[in-house]
């Protein structure tokens, strides 16, 4: 058991140190390029094949046979199980009041909410928050680094990889024997995929280049989360600067 965790840990620490170092080089500026695209695209293709042929059909079947309230309960359960990581990152981001609220939320939902299946805290005044180590690093000024497509895990970035360590370590499921944890994790994967069916349908309907579409959507979604849903509005300054300088040129001509 311990060896399993330490093996996972050392792998991720090695990976995240490397990735953080490469990520730090880009600073706080958002990178438009995708330096690892050559590696990412084949992995995207692999994940997508797996998804289209196995995971998506299973998720669709699951939606067909499972009533909505049950799926809601499953989603709540796994969201609650992962909540210690949210609390840690509340604190790391200096959101202490939110950290206290989230601790109360975790306690109430784990007990009154029967292991997190129900969300009595959310019906009261303790809404669910979405925080993770990637967002914490973002608020600390770490740039997103290189976009990554991880095998099986999907879109990520060098800034978001370290969260895999904390969220794994803080998830109680990690400490159960594989015989118990594996089938529960499988349910989580299927349920999570089911929750994403609308999003992937939209991607399939709209995207010309699904890889680029997913990359851009992921980056923007992450930025939005770092700003707690209120990211600075993109100004497309380059475009409007061009426009303005063009019209300024005209003004100058008139003045002359």
């Amino acid at each position: 058991m311990e060896t399993k965790i330490s093996r996972v840990l050392s792998y991720f620490i090695l990976l995240s140190t490397f990735l953080l170092l490469t990520g730090c080089q880009t600073g706080g500026v958002r990178e438009e390029t995708d330096p690892l695209e050559g590696l990412n695209r084949p992995i995207y293709g692999f994940n997508d094949g797996l998804d289209k042929h196995i995971l998506q059909p299973i998720a669709k079947g699951y939606v067909a046979i499972t009533p909505k309230p049950v799926r809601k309960g499953v989603t709540n359960f796994f969201s609650n199980l992962a909540y210690l990581n949210v609390i840690l990152n509340d604190v790391l981001q200096g959101k202490f009041a939110q950290g206290l609220d989230d601790t109360a939320r975790f306690v109430i939902n784990s007990t009154v909410g029967i292991g997190g299946i129900f969300d009595p805290a959310g019906h009261g005044t303790l809404p669910r928050h979405d925080e993770d180590l990637g967002q914490t690093l973002g608020t600390w000024g770490v740039g997103e680094g290189a976009y990554l497509n991880l095998p099986l895990l999907g879109p990520s970035s060098t800034r978001d990889v370290p969260d895999i360590v904390t969220s794994t370590l803080l998830n109680p499921l990690t400490y159960f024997a594989a015989a118990i944890a594996a089938p529960i994790t499988a349910v989580n994967v299927i349920n999570t995929r089911a929750n994403l069916l609308d999003a992937s349908n939209f991607r399939d309907a709209a995207a010309l280049d699904p890889y680029a579409f997913t990359r851009e959507a992921y980056r923007q979604h992450r930025t939005s989360l770092i700003y707690d849903g209120n990211p600075p509005v993109e100004e497309f300054e380059d475009f409007f600067d061009d426009e303005e300088s063009a019209s300024l040129d005209e003004d100058v001509l008139i003045i002359e």
């Binding site: 809601k72 939209f202 309907a205 709209a206 995207a207 010309l208 280049d209 890889y211 680029a212 579409f213 990359r215 851009e216 959507a217 923007q220 979604h221 930025t223 939005s224 989360l225 849903g229 990211p231 509005v233 993109e234 100004e235 497309f236 475009f239 409007f240 303005e244």
Partner: protein, 202 residues
């Protein structure tokens, strides 16, 4: 309850003040977006009774009147725009607006008591306005933020940001690789194919 009403009243008053100060013309950003939302709700309600083409035809004039497709397509194509001739530019504007209408028609087709709520609006640089709204469904809220600017006394939408994801940036990124690998004609071909597929999808 009274507090909520009071806040709503203040919001309405502020809005009126805002409209009378800045938006002397008869369209306001809020009216433009409200009209679009109304037609989208209508399209959802008619999803069961009208076919795709009929709903497309109903949405077409509203979408064309709400968006500044000329500016949108220029931003989406970025530096490639300058290399296109006039015929190609108008072809792209035409295909792109068709895709927008088709996307709305195919996505807003089922009504289960969803609604749009206006939240607030604020001025940005260069006279642009960001208008924040949310789409309320049975189990969640989706934020729809609109960026509008005024062209010849008319307010037009140039970007929609859905749950923090900007449509302009998404398309810019999505089309860039196609433009690079297959060129303008390849891009137009793919967009037309999308429009066609959206129309035949059940």
């Amino acid at each position: 309850m009274t507090k909520l009403f009071g806040m709503k009243l203040i919001a309405v008053l502020l809005l009126m003040l805002n409209s009378s100060l800045n938006f002397a013309n008869d369209t306001t950003p809020e009216k433009v977006v409200a009209k679009l939302h109304q037609s989208l709700l209508q399209s959802m309600k008619e999803g069961g009774s009208l076919n795709y083409q009929a709903r497309y035809n109903n949405l077409e004039p509203v979408v064309l009147a709400s968006f500044d497709f000329k500016t949108i397509t220029r931003i989406v194509l970025g530096r490639h725009w300058k290399k296109l001739d006039n015929a190609q530019r108008s072809q792209f504007i035409d295909v792109f607006s068709k895709l927008s209408i088709a996307t709305y028609t195919s996505q807003f087709k089922r009504f289960s008591r969803q609604s749009f709520e206006y939240l607030n609006d604020e001025m940005m640089t260069r006279g642009r306005v960001v208008l924040k709204t949310q789409f309320v469904t049975e189990d969640r809220l989706v934020s729809f933020n609109y960026i509008l600017h005024s062209v010849e006394d008319k307010w037009l939408i140039i970007n929609v940001i859905t749950d923090g994801v900007s449509d302009l940036s998404l398309k810019k990124s999505d089309y860039a690789t196609i433009m690079k690998t297959e060129g303008f004609d390849g891009l137009v071909k793919k967009l037309l194919e999308k429009v066609r597929k959206l129309g035949i999808k059940p």
